[in-house]
């Protein structure tokens, strides 16, 4: 599930081949039950220590539930079983704020910026005692956030809110980023911008990404994990998956609702990193 040839390593690092193959995150037999409903039933996968690993699956299959279980945000009515490890450390049953301070960055679905606070306040909230916040890094990626410091986050556009949600996580150093549908509901041009930013971010931090836009997936992801019916249905090279029209169709339902293109193949072949379901 983890060891395989890696043709396009984006971050060549001075570590040994072996260390590079050691996954940053191990999810083993993860089951999540929320108010009696079995949402995940024995999910196992690993996240590579570099680059982007994408988590795919049809709507409502449990991608968000998986990310939230990793970062300890399963609702109180929920029950989590199995093992989640980062290196030797078990992440299960540890409070979210500890996990995050330990280097797990979480960019939630629907962005969740604090609408009533200003952009600067949203960023300041992510500052931590004892460390210097990397404002230069954030403002280099998102100059807009610097200019709009005094604007209320609720009045930002969707794309700007997404930049803020990513920016506040990048204010600190992370060992792994969990990013949930960062291009959801954004205009094609903004989708490209977000994808570019994530590409640059992934050069230094491994990312576990949930993404429905297959063009973005094709551009960013090296490894893919596909969920279906509460379990892992496929893992392997992301490009391989996307080239198999039959496979993407059966696993993701692509070709019908999600990508309104004549065929999945032609969508994937198109160079534009744009979402076809956007007006």
């Amino acid at each position: 599930m983890s060891a395989r040839s890696e043709p396009g390593l984006r971050a060549p690092q001075s570590r040994t081949e072996e260390a590079q193959l050691e996954p940053i995150l191990n999810v083993e037999d993860l089951s999540v039950r929320i108010s009696g409903l079995h949402i995940l039933q024995g999910v196992s996968f690993t996240v590579a220590p570099t680059g982007v690993t994408v988590l795919l699956g049809r709507n409502g299959v449990g991608k968000t539930t998986t990310l939230r279980a990793i970062v300890g945000l399963t609702p109180p009515a929920g029950e989590v079983r199995g093992a989640i490890r980062m290196g030797a450390r078990s992440l299960l049953a540890r409070p979210t704020h500890r996990l995050v301070r330990g280097g797990l960055g979480y960019v939630p679905e629907d962005r969740c910026v604090f609408a009533g606070l200003t952009v600067a306040e949203n960023l300041r909230l992510a500052e931590r005692r004892g460390t210097t916040p990397a404002y230069d890094r954030v403002f280099a990626l998102f100059p807009e956030l610097d200019r709009r410091g005094r604007q209320r986050a609720g009045s930002l556009s969707g794309g700007q809110q997404q930049m803020l949600a990513i920016g506040r996580v990048l204010l600190n150093d992370n060992r792994l980023l969990l990013v949930d549908e960062p291009t959801k509901g954004l205009a094609p041009k903004v989708v490209t911008e977000v994808a570019e930013v994530l590409e640059r971010v992934a050069e230094s931090v491994p990312v576990l990404l949930v993404e429905q836009n297959l063009a973005v997936v094709r551009r960013l992801a090296r490894d893919a994990v596909v969920l279906a019916a509460g379990r892992v249905a496929w893992t392997g090279d992301a490009r391989e998956l996307l080239l198999e029209t039959g496979l993407t169709k059966s696993l993701l339902g692509v070709g019908s609702a999600e990508v309104r293109a004549p065929s999945a193949r032609s969508e994937l072949a198109s160079p534009a990193v744009a979402r076809k379901d956007q007006p």
Partner: protein, 296 residues
């Protein structure tokens, strides 16, 4: 004219009392989703703490600096009880709403029973400086000084809470937490510390209401907190859960409506009008005047 001014100022005095109780309730609910029925207990502790200190604490008394010391003691006692209640009883029960309601209701009943057992069920004369018994002539109205003191104190508390929310790190955490608590923890912040802090602030404000309410009414009795709490809850709902400014506006509206209707209508009609007002607000604007935002 004199009557209108008198009713306005006594209405505002009542509003001040409601606000001091409601501001803490509102922040606690807005941030931690806890409906704290034991909030009236903090008021009772503040009132009895002040009353006890004035008679027993060395240096404290019913006048001048001694009185300030007595009130400070009452407020400190209320704050301490609020912190203990949060740490010991509420913290293990976060996100278990029904248990929380049971525990806080039980605690408020037990608290009243404890005050009764210790100091009796009857109202006791409250120690207060002589000037608070007097009246000040304002535009032809003879306004009791105790009421003016309450208005002043509530205005100061409102300003202090807003400054705290606006300018401090914890204030930022509280404002963000009222909006989306989960996301605050997802940024690496232990939001439970902010819960304790909000209980402490609410406990201090309620205890101050207890002490100054004692001055205003001239007596202290175990049941006082409970009846005030009902109107404070109404104020919180009308103002919008989690909004301190909303609580202030709502307290003023409720205090004035009660005072004017009780005077010009029949006594007791004001209370019914307040409940009617609550129903109207719930129908037209279920999120309250200011919605779920900690500052505005």
């Amino acid at each position: 004219m004199g009557t209108v001014i008198l009713l306005t100022l006594t209405g505002l005095g009542l509003a001040a009392l409601y606000f001091l109780v409601a501001s803490g309730l509102s922040l606690v609910f807005g941030l931690a989703d806890v409906l704290n029925f034991a909030h009236g207990l903090f008021l009772g502790v503040g009132a009895y703490g002040t009353w006890w200190a004035a008679g027993n604490l060395p240096g404290a008394g019913s006048d001048g600096f001694g009185f300030v010391l007595a009130v400070a003691f009452g407020v400190a006692a209320g704050t301490l009880v609020a912190i203990l209640v949060e740490l010991v009883l509420i913290r293990p029960l976060y996100s278990r709403t029904i248990e929380q309601v049971l525990v806080t209701v039980g605690l408020s009943l037990a608290g009243v029973a404890l005050l009764q057992a210790t100091w009796g069920a009857d109202a006791r004369p409250f120690p207060r400086p002589d000037w608070t018994r007097q009246v000040t002539g304002i535009l032809g109205a003879q306004v009791p000084n105790g009421g003016l003191l309450l208005i002043l104190a509530a205005a100061l508390v409102l300003g202090a809470i807003l400054a705290f929310l606006r300018w401090t790190r914890y204030g930022l955490v509280i404002r963000a937490g009222v909006e989306n608590r989960e996301m605050v923890t997802a940024l690496g912040i232990d939001v439970r510390k902010a819960f304790t802090l909000v209980f402490a602030i609410g406990g201090a404000a309620a205890a101050l209401a207890g002490a100054l309410g004692g001055v205003y009414f001239g007596t202290v009795s175990p049941g006082q907190g409970g009846s005030l709490l009902i109107f404070a809850f109404i104020v919180v709902v009308i103002g919008g859960m989690g909004s301190v400014v909303g609580s202030a506006y709502a307290a003023v509206v409720v205090g004035l409506v009660q005072q004017f209707v009780n005077y010009y209508g029949t006594s007791g009609l004001g209370d019914i009008c307040v409940v009617g007002l609550l129903a109207v607000v719930l129908l037209l604007r279920p999120q309250g005047i200011a919605g779920k935002v900690a500052t505005a």
